[in-house]
């Protein structure tokens, strides 16, 4: 097991009180595997990713049973030992390539810096490696590109560079937070294919964070669906797409416009809004928006076993066949 997270909770201190952003989240990623964390804004997916690199804001308080990466205990590892991991064995690709790149430095400087920070190589060797990677991520004339500044490049090129930067040290685990949502669809498909190929070639584990279920269906080996800071469903991608067990997962699938859906007919929408994370009550968090809610849903519920390696946080699991 490459990464193992157990019982992760994150509380954020705000002016209005303590916000429980993530509650008792567990998942694991194996070598060469793609785990998709799926959910809508505010469900806690991004902050979960940041916590793995220990990049949480100062107001955040993290508790967990286990966060282990290979043989390292990320929970107790001192900050001085975390830094050499970031960008090296554990890399992150952020959503917005404009803010992930420094506008004051050339692309070449930013790419080589990653390698120079982690490995004993010469600047020339690092530049060579940067060229090699730019070619790999589909950028022709890499020597020229290395001399350019981020503003001289298109969004698609910038995101390719951010991907190249994350791969400079051949990480064991890569965390991608909606890396393609800001891009044109053609560029998105091209980049995703590239990322997937590189992942397979290098045997990297990948955590892919997104709300795009179409995309998830194409790349995920395993899926974690989050709602209001909790895992509501987890399991192999095939099981979740074939037999979604949690009403929220089903609702999300029904809400995506898809060619299989009759044109110009209403999509399934989820009424209501996400409950406040400031005061969690002791009920199922999805109860207020759930079409199947009943009295028994007023009780907290733990993840229930649906099938092999497949769990859902719903009282109805096993009580009836999924619809």
């Amino acid at each position: 097991m490459l990464l193992n997270v157990k019982g992760l909770s994150i509380n954020l201190a705000t002016q209005r009180g303590t916000l429980s952003a993530v509650q008792d989240v567990s998942f694991h990623v194996d070598k060469g595997e793609t785990l998709c964390i799926v959910g809508e804004s505010g469900c806690g997916k991004s902050i979960t990713a940041l916590s793995l690199l220990r990049l949480l804001p100062a107001s955040a308080r993290l508790t967990a049973e286990t966060i282990s990466f290979n043989d390292l205990d990320l929970l107790t590892l001192p900050e001085a030992d975390i830094r050499p991991l970031r960008g090296n064995r554990l890399s992150m690709i952020f959503q917005d390539p404009m803010s992930a790149l420094n506008p004051l430095h050339t692309v070449g400087r930013q790419l080589t810096d990653v390698l120079l920070a982690h490995q004993h190589v010469t600047r020339a060797k690092a530049a060579e490696r940067a060229c090699e990677l730019l070619l790999k991520v589909g950028i022709p004339n890499p020597e020229e590109r290395l001399q350019q500044y981020p503003h001289e490049l298109s969004g698609g090129l910038r995101q390719r560079i951010v991907i190249a930067m994350a791969l400079m040290c051949e990480p064991e685990l890569i965390i991608a937070d909606e890396p393609t949502t800001a891009l044109d669809v053609t560029i998105q498909a091209d980049l995703l294919r590239l990322l997937k190929e590189l992942q397979q070639a290098l045997g990297m584990g990948m955590i892919f964070i997104t709300h795009d279920l179409g995309l998830v269906s194409r790349i995920a080996d395993r899926i974690v669906v989050m709602y209001a800071g909790e895992v509501v469903e987890a399991g192999p991608a095939s099981a979740i797409f074939e037999h979604p067990a949690h009403p929220y997962t089903r609702a999300l699938l029904g809400a995506v416009p898809d060619p299989s859906h009759p044109r110009m007919e209403p999509l399934e929408s989820i009424p209501g809004t996400v409950p406040s994370l400031l005061s969690r009550d002791k009920t199922c968090h999805f109860r207020g928006r759930c079409p199947m809610a009943q009295d028994i849903c007023n009780n907290r519920i733990s993840l229930q076993t649906v099938g092999a390696d497949h769990q859902a946080r719903c009282i109805r699991v096993g009580a009836e066949d999924s619809q």
Binding site: D190, G214, R218, L253
Partner: protein, 287 residues
Amino acid sequence: MTPPLLELRDITHDYVVRHGIFGTRRRVRAVDGVNLRIGKGDVLGIVGESGSGKSTLARIMLGLLDPSEGAALLEGKPVSAFPRRGLAEKVGFIFQDPYSSLNPRQTVEQIIGYPIRLRDRGSPGSRRDLVRQTMEVVGLPERFLDAYPGQMSGGQRQRVAIARALITRPGLLLCDEPTSALDVSVQAQVLNLLLELRKDHELTYAIISHNMSVIQHMTTHVAVMYLGRIVEMDRSERVFANPQHPYTQLLLDSMLTVAPGKGIPELRLDTAAREAMRDHPVHIVTN
């Protein structure tokens, strides 16, 4: 024959760009010889990559931009001949980002009522009633009347934007990426609302989006733009079932529909492919 609701005739638009403070001026063609018609009740989807001229076209349709060449006609009359307010009554618009398109210091009532306040018609009381009615139409509870945008969710804000666009009862609503800033479940709410409003109020839409699934779901006609030109235009079913232009084909190939295990499609995006797309004859069917 009645003229189409909106017609663009041979529209070309150049932007002048200057390199550096003392640099040379250069003209960049954003829109190149575009012809299109939107009939009453149609939903025209406009798709294309960023920089293909979609938003320039939208600004021309709204009368916010005078094209370098050609004419935009609304109900057969040049858009430029309408007084600004008169045009605003006939064409409504909603933008991509409900976070930045609403004034954070105005209440929902002020925002939605602004277009009718501008016209200065009716009494404050009757205007308030009209705001209330419009809020009901878009499914906003009355308690939001005095709320500020900052107190609302993304979906609620987009409803405010739609209410503001509809309060003058325009016949045509132009939507620029109406749901791309929203979550999936909220996107479904907004799309359902747009479909419902169209049925109940006989609205005509022009929807700009790069989300092909949204376009397929929502439109009767599609115009595909590439490098400032419309390279394919036809009824949606036909475009999606049987694309004629290689760029349309590329767009359809890159759709990531829910298909577990299908993987990411392999696209040809090299220079040769781009040149082939540029030189391929256009396919335009108007009916």
